[in-house]
Structure formats: structure tokens, C-alpha cells
Point group: C2
Chain length 249, copies 2
């Protein structure tokens, strides 16, 4: 856990489903945020969650509070998450892409609470009154509300995501885009044709048939064929197979 990620607290308020608490803990562990605080969870939910895959110690170290105020008291920035868009929100509402930047900045020196509400209702107005601003995930209008564990995963991913890793992609993408690509169906027909030729020609040893086939299929995919080349290949293989069959008979 880096110093900065150690300063983020994920605060789950009133979570009632142990699977969701466990899922939140697992995502935290995946992305390296290990401080979980729970505010009045259903006792059973919290106890059952302690079996979450790979996140047992994180859950064991989770801190319990009865009030949101106490759970965020040592934080210099408190961010609430919400699915709400159009309700008379009293707070600034920021999209995740933007909000995460502000959180990262604050984490350089301060402590941040990222607060998630109960599954069914979300954060109450009272809960929201402890928040400096709100953040939402850009889901589509017709289905706004996310599962709690998935919302935690997406928010934390945005916090660890590395913009630099994406920018170098442009050139390559352009190059790869220039010609129309073969479909997976065409590629598979080429693999099949080639494999038939290899079988009939005795290249494939029965004892290693499965691994040879896999190797060949991977090789054909690495050829990264354009649609035009795929057609060429299919023609060539058809001819080769015709020849091989003729030789057998």
C-alpha cells in the first residue's frame, strides 16, 4: 500500500448484504486500498462477509462506527457516491473521471473518505450532509444504479488507473486500423484448413494432437490477417488440400 492509497478510507454506510461487503473488500484489496470503515452494517452481514476471497485480513481490520460523522472525522475530504442525477442536490456533483483527479490530488497530503450508501436507498440526506461533494459513475440514463461491490471496484479502478499507459496507443491503433480485418470465422476456417492439411500430411502426432492444434490456432491468429489476405489463404489451402487428398487416393 503506497502512502497515498493508505490515506483513502472506503466507508460503507448501512450495507445489508454480506456478499456486497465482501465484494467491496475484495476490490479494495485488488486495487491496493486497505482501509475499510463500516457504519452500522447489519451485524450478520458484516460477520458473514469476513470470508471474502483474498480479503480476510482487510475485513478483520475494518473499523466499525455507529455514526457517519465519526467514520469521517479524521478526513480532510469527504466524497459521497450517488446514482442520483436530477434530484435537488445540495452538493456539487462530479463525474468519476474528474472527481478521481481531485481525490488523487488531496491524497498527496490529506486523508480522503469515499462514502457508499445502503444498497437499496443510497446515502440519505443526513449522510450527504457530511460530504464536501458528490461523485457519480457515468452509467446510462435508463439503468443508473450500480451494484455496490461493482461501484466500489469501478471507483477504485479509476483512482489507480494510469493515464500514461493509454496515450501511446494511438499510433498503433491507427496502424492496426488501416485495413479491414478478417473475422474470427474466417480465421478459424484457415486454422481448420491448415490443420486438416497437417493431419493428412502426418505432421500432427496423435499423442500431441491437442497441443499441436492449439499451437497452430494461435499461430494463425498471430498472423493478424486482413480480410483480403484471409481470402487468399483460404484459396491456397483449398488447393493444397485437394493435392494432398489426391495423393492419398
Amino acid at each position: 500500500m503506497s502512502a497515498a492509497s493508505g490515506r483513502l478510507c472506503v466507508v460503507l454506510v448501512g450495507a445489508s448484504n454480506p456478499l456486497n461487503i465482501g465484494a467491496a473488500a475484495r476490490a479494495m484489496s485488488n486495487f491496493g486500498f486497505l482501509r475499510l470503515r463500516v457504519v452500522s452494517p447489519y451485524e450478520v452481514a458484516f460477520r458473514e462477509a469476513r470470508s471474502a476471497v483474498g480479503a480476510a485480513s482487510l475485513l478483520a481490520n475494518a473499523e466499525e462506527f455507529t455514526k457517519v460523522a465519526d467514520a469521517v472525522a479524521d478526513c480532510t475530504l469527504v466524497v459521497g457516491t450517488t446514482a442520483v442525477r436530477h434530484r435537488e442536490l445540495q452538493h456539487p456533483l462530479r463525474r468519476l473521471e474528474y472527481g478521481a483527479r481531485l481525490i488523487r490530488k488531496e491524497l498527496a497530503t490529506g486523508r480522503v473518505a469515499l462514502v457508499f450508501g445502503p444498497e437499496k436507498t443510497g446515502l440519505s440526506n443526513d449522510d450527504l450532509s457530511y460530504c464536501h461533494w458528490l461523485m457519480n459513475i457515468p452509467t446510462r440514463e435508463q439503468h443508473i444504479s450500480m451494484n455496490l461491490g461493482q461501484a466500489v471496484a469501478v471507483c477504485l479502478y479509476e483512482l489507480v488507473r494510469d493515464a500514461k499507459k493509454a496515450t501511446s496507443a494511438k499510433k498503433l491503433a491507427k496502424k492496426e486500423q488501416m485495413e479491414k480485418r478478417a473475422t474470427a470465422g474466417e480465421v478459424e476456417r484457415i486454422s481448420d484448413g491448415l490443420l486438416e492439411a497437417l493431419h493428412r500430411s502426418g505432421y500432427v502426432k496423435p499423442i500431441a494432437a491437442a497441443s499441436t492444434e492449439e499451437r497452430v490456432r494461435r499461430m494463425v491468429r498471430r498472423m493478424n490477417l486482413s480480410s483480403r489476405d484471409a481470402e487468399l489463404w483460404l484459396g491456397m489451402l483449398r488447393q493444397i488440400l485437394w493435392k494432398i487428398k489426391a495423393a492419398r487416393d
Copy 2:
């Protein structure tokens, strides 16, 4: 569903937990990708998943296949997801930030399959042989493997995320950063002090006490106090309260 997102197929291979299938479907619906294909799921898992919150029609329209080859046959790009880092991978491995860019480019004209393996084992070598390249989510080394539903959510979020929404954040963040911020505990003490003064001065009507308190707490947070100003405020309120109490007695 935009034309581009309609060209993405999420392919779940051998999923065995109905909750995970349902969670994957829900995240797809949240982010506007409605084409689900399942390859030999456990029959029960698939049937039980059909109750996923908000994603019933998506699940009802899911297509079933018995072979990976058939599920991806009409796609021009097949991307496998994997938690593996160091295994003798036969494929190029790309981080999500970068891979998502390539996928978006391909979706402009082609059809893309995004393939997820079974919960316990991930994609087999045979499954992988149908993929052009692999993509991984930047989880931490000590806990690489994500929950299936969360992995789907994170990948689809990266596909819809809007880089432009993040870039304008820099200036504001800098401004907000210049002074050390008050902690939530300090802010809450100011709210408490102010509320006590308002209660004692008869400003708060008993019948509307809860909503008034909320309103005041939000207002105090909107002041966005620096640590120094918070101290000032606490001193001022202490004095005001002393005066009010003296007046009462």
C-alpha cells in the same frame, strides 16, 4: 445503445455462479452494452441469473453457445481477459487502459468479443487460442484475481469513460490544494457549535429540527474551510455560545 457499443459482445465462458452472471449482466446494462453471449454455463447458473436487478431483458436476450469458436465467429477482434502476468503467455498482453483504446477503435467499424473465463480457473489455453490478444486489469501483485462481475464492470467502465471529462480538473484541483483543508471533525465541531447557538437562540423550530440541522451542516461544508479559518470559527462560536448562555441564565 450506440452503434459502437452494439458491436461489442461480452462472452462469458463456463461461468458457474448465477450471481456472477447476473452481476455481469447488470454492469453491461449500466454501461450500455447489451449483447451477452454465454458459452456452456452451468444450466442452473444461467437460469437463476435471469433475475438480475434491472438486467432481465438483457439476460433473456443472451445467446448460448457450446463452443468459444462459435460465440466469436462474427467478430473481427477477440480479446481475452486474464489475471495472469508471468505465465508463458503466447499472446500480447495489454493493460486495460491501453487495450480499451484499441477496442474502441475497432468498434468504430468492426465487431469485438470481450471474453471472460470461468471464476476459478480463468480462460484455458484452448479458449485463449481464439483470442487475438489479452488484456489485464492493473490489480496489485499480491491480489491479482478479481471477482468476475467486478472485472466485467471495470472493463466496461474503461470503455465508456470519457477522458475529456477528467482533463479540465487540473486547475481547480490546484486552487483547492493551496491551503491546508479543515478536517471533517473540525467542520463537524463548527456545525455543532453553530447548531447549539441556533437551538438556544430559538432559530431551530422543533418541528423542523432535523431538516434545519441538515441544511446547516451542508452550508458549513459548502464554506469549504481552510484549517486556519476553522480555528477562527471555533473561537468565534465559543464566544457567541458563552454570551447566549449568559443571557439565558
